[in-house]
Symmetry: C2
């Protein structure tokens, strides 16, 4: 029986700067009565990766540029938050009240460069914001290697986040960093059942898995920051999230 | 333990025009040793819904308009195929060699209006193409009602397809019709753990489930045209795929 089984990992609690995520995840697997097997994939929420990596910025320490102040008037956001977003971005694609769509320095087209103020504990130093990990593929590899060292299983890791989409309402889970998992499955050249080449050729498998896990993570309730996926059909192939990013030259929608 | 379990339904075989999909799916559940429970969701591939509904067009019977002939030169496709795409569309958004992005008459922004030539048996009458169902929400409701009549369980139904995305490579599973499942989960007003309102407010739950099931369906191998999902956290709420379509006025990327 071909099955994909996703299990929520609960009990991880608040993740602090410097936390060893592989160790936390290994502990959560055990606490949930789960083992990690070769071929499994752990989907880990971006927020806990960013927190462990200390990707927190205090708004009080940010000096907004003139451009940020100007843009903040358009998008109706705190100029210091806009400054952080601009520092994380290569290009602003769209700006209107409450919406700031950018190309993140890592290549993701996304709202607010992933700079997020929700679910951050209010610090004694005032309001803070959380940035995406510096290099999410590297973060995924570190977690994968740590899990292998601790548990002996060659598992894949997907770091996911929730992105808005063009043309569709609502956010959906998406991969921002991967290790031991392919970004794209290439079906180019596979004939269909009549022997004709398929027109649809590449499947964004890592994004589909990120979306699946996102269903168990919820949004307001941060108590499920990781999901164990068993039965992912493409585990074990190596990949990078870069595969998933359409090059600017091929991009028809900017 | 919070789990989402997706199981491939095999053995459905070639679906013919007029087929009773609820009956076929009930048979496949039994043949796979599965029961249908209230709260389950069946994800059904668009192709078998279109086939059952007879949404097949023979290219030999299509007379391309002057506009279709002109557009076919740009996109390097058969003018009769382009004519079918235009008949299924409200608007052409982008046209370049091998790419024709339209707004489908149902509101979906997608490649080639979903008109698909792969995995269609070559007919004696020549080349054929498959169109999307006339009204996929209605198709989903018919399947849902049929399953309830046959098996007594109030299950949800999602009809999925694979769409390309702006900015990202690869196709991903997406919902084109739903019944007994919400399109969007609305988290507006739910405070985060510090009591601040969340900025990200709506989750495209039906699309996430469609993507999850797509992982088990594959692309070239059509032997898995349906997936049983158990543990979908939002089953039982009613919805329409229209919830998922961003209105033209709010769309920043056309």
């Amino acid at each position: 029986m071909r099955q994909l089984i996703l299990t929520a990992l609960t009990g991880i609690g608040e993740v602090r700067r410097g936390a060893d995520l592989a160790r936390l995840l290994a502990g959560a697997l055990a606490a949930n009565g789960l083992t990690l097997e070769t071929g499994d994939v752990l989907v880990v929420a971006q927020k806990i990766v960013s927190k462990a990596e200390g990707r927190r910025a205090l708004l009080a320490e940010v000096e907004p540029s003139a451009h940020a102040v100007e843009l903040a008037r358009i998008v109706l956001k705190d100029p210091r938050l806009v400054e952080l977003i601009l520092r994380e971005s290569r290009e602003v694609l769209r700006a209107k009240p409450n919406v700031l769509i950018v190309e993140h320095r890592l290549g993701f087209v996304m709202a607010s460069a992933g700079v997020d103020q929700s679910n951050l504990p209010l610090s004694e130093d005032g309001r803070a914001a959380l940035l995406l990990p510096e290099d999410p593929d590297a973060s995924a590899r570190r977690i994968r290697d740590g899990l292998q060292a601790l548990l002996g299983a060659a598992a894949g890791v997907v770091i996911n986040d929730s992105f808005g989409r063009a043309w569709r309402n609502g956010v959906s889970g998406i991969a921002i960093g991967i290790a031991g998992v392919p970004g794209l499955i290439d079906l180019r050249g596979s004939p269909d059942r009549e022997g004709r080449p398929l027109e649809v050729t590449q499947v964004a498998a890592a994004d589909e898995l990120a979306a699946a896990a996102s269903l168990l993570m919820g949004q307001a309730d941060e108590s499920v920051p990781a999901v164990l996926a068993r039965g992912f059909p493409y585990a074990g192939r190596e990949g990078s999230v870069q595969e998933l990013l359409r090059s600017r030259a091929e991009d028809l929608f900017r």
